[in-house]
Symmetry: C2
Subunit: 250 residues, 2 copies
């Protein structure tokens, strides 16, 4: 156990770097905050360092493979990304999920920008029983603090695979698995497409949708009918409706 | 057209009151912000005053029934609830929806606390073709700025009725319309309940769910199965899945 009082300490500078995408990529580590998320990360076996306010009693099960640091308020201020921080953090190791797509249901994210949307989609994919999430280039970094908080821990449950979406579509097609792209034009209502025990479902950028070239590789195009006077659905809500529809065979 | 330069002007003080629930209730008016929402409010015929920065060209169609005020940055600062304000506001009149529940589909909100959730639920109910939203006591004020922004204008499309939920359930029952409550215990999967052309769907408080007494009046209890390791769904996502499921007969 080591105590760190100053925000200028060299170790704190290393932790601070984990608040940026660049720093996370360089070290293959990321920082999480709050008891609930740390509990989930401990279960996933990825916690390397625990960083807590002095008064905090670290549960024994948390310490097994992790170094423990206590910190002063000055350090909490520097690391906290939430307004009401509990002053409890952990440095975790990224576990690269196998890039092999087994037979199953996958959510594919094409250039999604909003961290809250992406995190909520990962959480919903987990709840719906999907087997993994494929994150294409141009989608917000899933190790961004806002994404992780919105996943509510599902980032640690579900394989999250970074790869070009064309590759993922190819890998699914080689196994005879259909890929469904969401689109407004040339699309059919999702309700007319039956649930499937294996599929790829592509959700596109909040404003532009799925990229046209990627859409051209899809076996079907699905849209969600809007019946009232609303112009559109919230992106995370739309994803939830589709995830639960296509997974509802069990 | 009147110009107001000082945030201390008496008219500005009246506008500021509309940022509080008390001020809104006293005047039966509320304040909205941003071009898109004002466009929708103009179409709904509820705009009484337009408040814009001096450089802004007010569309002719907006002015028909509204007084126009131009304001300086100091006033914008006082009224703006968003970080990147366009400096365009409108004072609107609350239109009390008829408390008569016609035959149709209604979303009932029981003590929902998060403004973003409530706004997104109203938006999704509109998109799914529901006929109205009944807001019970204890749910966040739907004229709260965050709620209105999350509805993306659906607050002006859809009847939003404030009444005790027991009354709403009675009114639906008198017409032979089933009411479905969401619950985790003693509930069946929503997928086993068929879509309906008329129903009441009750969504409960984010942490506590639907109040037990209210639940006891329901004809069915529905839950959304969680298949992966996620503990729960985001409340707005859960509502979206149910709204689209029960409305999918058309």
């Amino acid at each position: 156990m080591k105590h760190i009082a100053s925000a200028k300490n060299e170790i704190v500078k290393q932790w601070k770097k984990l608040l940026t995408k660049k720093g996370r990529l360089q070290t293959n580590r990321f920082l999480i905050e709050g008891e609930h998320l740390i509990e989930e990360a401990v279960r996933a076996g990825i916690v390397k360092e625990l960083i807590v306010r002095e008064s905090y009693q670290v549960p024994g099960s948390w310490k097994r493979n992790a170094d423990v640091f206590t910190i002063d308020d000055a350090v909490i201020k520097v690391l906290a990304e939430t307004e009401t921080s509990q002053g409890i953090f952990a440095v975790c190791e990224m576990k690269q999920a196998s890039a092999q797509l087994e037979r199953g249901r996958y959510l594919l994210l094409d250039r999604l920008q909003d961290p809250g949307n992406v995190g909520t989609m990962i959480r919903t994919a987990d709840a719906a029983g999907f087997d993994g999430v494929v994150v294409g280039p141009g989608t917000v970094d899933v190790y961004n603090g806002k994404v992780i908080r919105a996943t509510q821990g599902s980032l640690f449950h579900l394989p999250v695979i970074s790869m070009p979406l064309e590759e993922a579509v190819n890998a699914l097609h080689e196994q005879g698995i259909a890929v469904i792209g969401t689109a407004l034009e040339g699309a059919t209502s999702y309700q007319t497409i039956a649930p499937m025990d294996a599929l790829g479902l592509i959700i596109g950028n909040e404003a532009q949708g799925v990229a046209p070239e990627l859409l051209s590789y899809c076996d079907e195009r699905a849209y969600i009918p809007i019946r009232g006077k609303a112009e559109s659905l919230n992106a995370a809500v739309a994803a939830g409706i589709l995830l639960y529809h296509f997974a509802s065979v069990d």
